[in-house]
């Protein structure tokens, strides 16, 4: 696909899990295309380091699996950006490490996977829905991208906690996409494929990295998808005269 260099110019993006892997690559891709990004991650030092190297990026420390963090995070995100056009729920947890059969999975590990992969995106999306829908009313559309996995569909043995939580996220995305269509907010669920990321290394340390997708390639595809969804909504809104 051919890109003009600044086709997300002025777009305000909130992204979780931005200090490594796909999140970091996607942030760089979005910034290259002109977006302003506020990212959320748990580790204060890594947040500071990533933000320091990127002038158009704001780093926010917080844990999306923690209910009490969600509104303070939403406040900082919308406060700093002045609005939110795109939310990327990317932060993910595997559950038990190393991966375990469901029957061997501790309840606490299962809960961690659900809290990070399902409840966190639900809560943060809900807390930012005011900002997203405001952007949709003012600019014609807004997009939520939930990062999914083939484990959300295929019942891979050993991936129980992760697969069940991602499956829930995928279904949540599909329902929310229908419910929010009237608000011109699209909710996407996309599988980036097997990538050479820290999360993948935790899950399958034996895989040869050269056989895995590079995060930058997945990031380009995701940025394309965000752009396409956003522009489809906003072009349509323009045609309909929503912005009058």
């Amino acid at each position: 696909m051919i890109h003009t260099p600044h086709n997300l110019q002025g777009i305000r993006v909130a992204l979780t899990g931005g200090t490594s892997g796909l999140g970091l690559a996607l942030m760089d891709e979005l910034v290259t295309r002109g977006a302003r990004v506020a990212f959320v991650a748990r580790d204060q030092r890594r947040v500071a380091a990533v933000a320091a190297a990127r002038p158009k990026v704001a780093g926010i420390v917080g844990d999306v699996s923690n209910k009490d963090d969600i509104y303070p995070l939403a406040m900082q995100i919308s406060g700093l950006l002045g609005g939110v056009d795109v939310l990327v729920n990317n932060a993910s947890a595997l559950g038990p490490v190393p991966l375990a059969l469901l029957a061997d999975t501790e309840c606490e590990d299962f809960e961690t996977a659900l809290a990070t992969n399902l409840l966190g995106p639900f809560r943060l999306t809900r807390a930012l829905l005011g900002s997203l829908s405001a952007a949709a009313r003012e600019r014609g559309g807004a997009v939520v991208l939930n990062v999914s996995s083939d484990a959300a569909i295929e019942p891979y043995p050993g991936w129980g906690a992760y697969g069940a939580s991602k499956s829930g996220l995928r279904h949540l995305s599909r329902i929310w996409d229908k419910e929010l269509a009237s608000q011109r907010v699209r909710v996407l669920s996309l599988d980036p494929g097997d990538m050479d990321t820290p999360l993948h290394a935790l899950a399958a340390s034996g895989d040869d990295p050269t056989t895995l997708k590079r995060p930058a390639d997945a990031a380009r595809e995701f940025a394309d998808a965000i752009e396409a969804a956003l522009h489809a909504l906003r072009d349509q809104a323009h045609l309909e005269g929503v912005r009058a």
């Binding site: 406040m75 829905l129 405001a134 009058a244």
Partner: protein
């Protein structure tokens, strides 16, 4: 008897009620979820999408080493980077559990005093003509200030709520940019189902962002200065919707006093609501001629508040007294998590060819009747000025259940547009007077 406080932070209790005051002063009781049914084709609904800052901060006044509470109360603009300077009200040690008016005073404050909030420092830049009202400057960049607010700030709250509020208690479902110092709580009436229901009825919904300020400081002198100047932003789409609503003679329904303040300020130039940023500086009260808003949906307020004064722009004192009596008699809950009122802008009726209205209530709402205006309306003097169902007595009328005949009998022609001194003056209001001869459907 005083009004009953809502003491639980539930935004949309299932039994929430709505007291409806129509443009003739009739009062009805409705379940609050029925508010969508009060809208007519052609109307639009405008809400304030401001999210609420955790504006209460505890810090140390360095010179005295005293613990103080600072309640952020105002800033210059809505710019996300413009968070270094705030107006703030200062209290001594203590918190919301103590009624605001009983709070300890802070130590003596002076320009140059430092206040520390954990690692973050601020300086009192100047006193704002009151020993507890200051301008404060934080010494950090915007990201650090937002972080400090997120970590240390608490929502401003009052003693009628016993438990500490979290941000999710005070953010309306549509809360977007965090710029309000207290929640624009009329917006608690909204949820996504009701917004969908509006859409299903083809009632357009739009928002503006208005930095709702403190409702009380606990100090009678300071309270006199409320509301403070409040920055707002009106999106182009919202301004366009209001213009379109005007053009088709629909009503602009404002969810909350802050929406009224923003729209009326934005319309104060030529009566047209302009898009863009502004700072609402005006006070709205009985002498205000509303130019943009036709209906207000609001929480219930006690008579000594600036919120209440604003309602007097919509209807007269006697009707509002009747509202207060009804709210008390029916034990409506007050304060931010309480029940709601729907108040339509009073029809300002000029009876016959008189230059002053017969009913003293009308006189209050028609303060500037002059000869020229009376002349301009003389040709309409044959119109029945008052619907027959409206009794001539001083107090408001109470009808709990509209009768079939009320709903179906056309009380045409509607008196307020034809024979009134309408306070709005932009041309879109009156493109064709005859076009508004629709039946006055009382109370809905």
């Amino acid at each position: 008897m005083t009004m009953r406080a809502a003491t639980l932070p539930v935004q949309r209790p299932h039994d929430a009620r709505l007291l409806v005051v129509d443009r003739h002063g009739h009062i009805e009781h409705r379940p609050r979820h029925a508010f969508v049914e009060l809208l007519r084709p052609g109307d639009c609904v405008i809400a304030n999408d401001a999210a609420t800052l955790p504006a209460s901060l505890h810090g140390i006044h360095r010179r005295s080493d005293a613990v103080i509470e600072i309640r952020l109360a105002g800033r210059q603009s809505l710019d996300p980077q413009d968070v270094k300077r705030f107006k703030a009200v200062v209290f001594g040690a203590g918190d919301f559990h103590t009624p605001t008016e009983a709070r300890a005073a802070p130590p003596r404050l002076a320009p140059g005093d430092r206040v520390s909030f954990g690692k973050l420092e601020a300086t009192i830049v100047r006193m704002l003509d009151h020993p507890r009202f200051v301008e404060l400057q934080f010494h950090a960049d915007a990201a650090r200030i937002w972080e400090m607010l997120a970590q240390q700030g608490k929502p401003v709250q009052y003693a009628h709520l016993h438990e500490a509020l979290a941000l999710w208690d005070v953010w309306t479902p549509i809360a977007a940019q965090p710029v309000a110092f207290e929640p624009p709580s009329a917006g608690f009436v909204l949820d996504w189902r009701s917004i969908d229901a509006l859409q299903a009825r083809s009632i357009p919904f739009a928002t503006l962002t208005h930095a709702a300020g403190l409702s009380s400081t606990g100090d009678a002198v300071l309270d006199q200065r409320l509301p403070l100047d409040e920055p707002y932003r009106i999106p182009a789409a919202t301004a366009a919707l209001i213009a379109a609503t005007r053009a088709r003679q629909g009503r602009v329904v404002a969810i909350g006093t802050t929406v009224v303040r923003a729209l009326e300020h934005a319309a104060s130039g030529n009566g047209v609501v302009h898009a863009g940023d502004g700072v609402a500086t005006q006070r709205i009260g009985p002498q205000t001629q509303l130019r943009a808003v036709d209906v207000i949906v609001s929480g219930t307020h006690e008579p000594d508040t600036s919120h209440y004064a604003l309602l007097r722009a919509f209807t007269d004192t006697l009707t509002l007294q009747g509202v207060t009596d009804e709210l008390e008699a029916h034990r409506y809950r007050t304060h931010e998590f309480g029940d709601s009122v729907w108040i339509e802008r009073r029809a300002c009726v000029v009876q016959g060819a008189r230059t002053s209205p017969l009913d003293p209530r009308e006189r209050e709402r028609c303060p500037t009747l002059g000869i020229g205006l009376a002349d301009s309306h003389r040709k309409d003097s044959a119109m029945p000025a008052v619907p027959s169902s409206r009794p001539h007595r001083a107090g408001p009328t109470l009808r709990k259940v509209p009768t079939v005949s009320d709903e179906l009998t056309p009380v045409a022609p509607s008196p307020d547009k034809e024979t009134s001194h309408d306070t709005r003056n932009h041309p879109a209001d009156h493109p064709d007077p005859a076009a508004d001869r629709r039946p006055a459907k009382l109370a809905v």
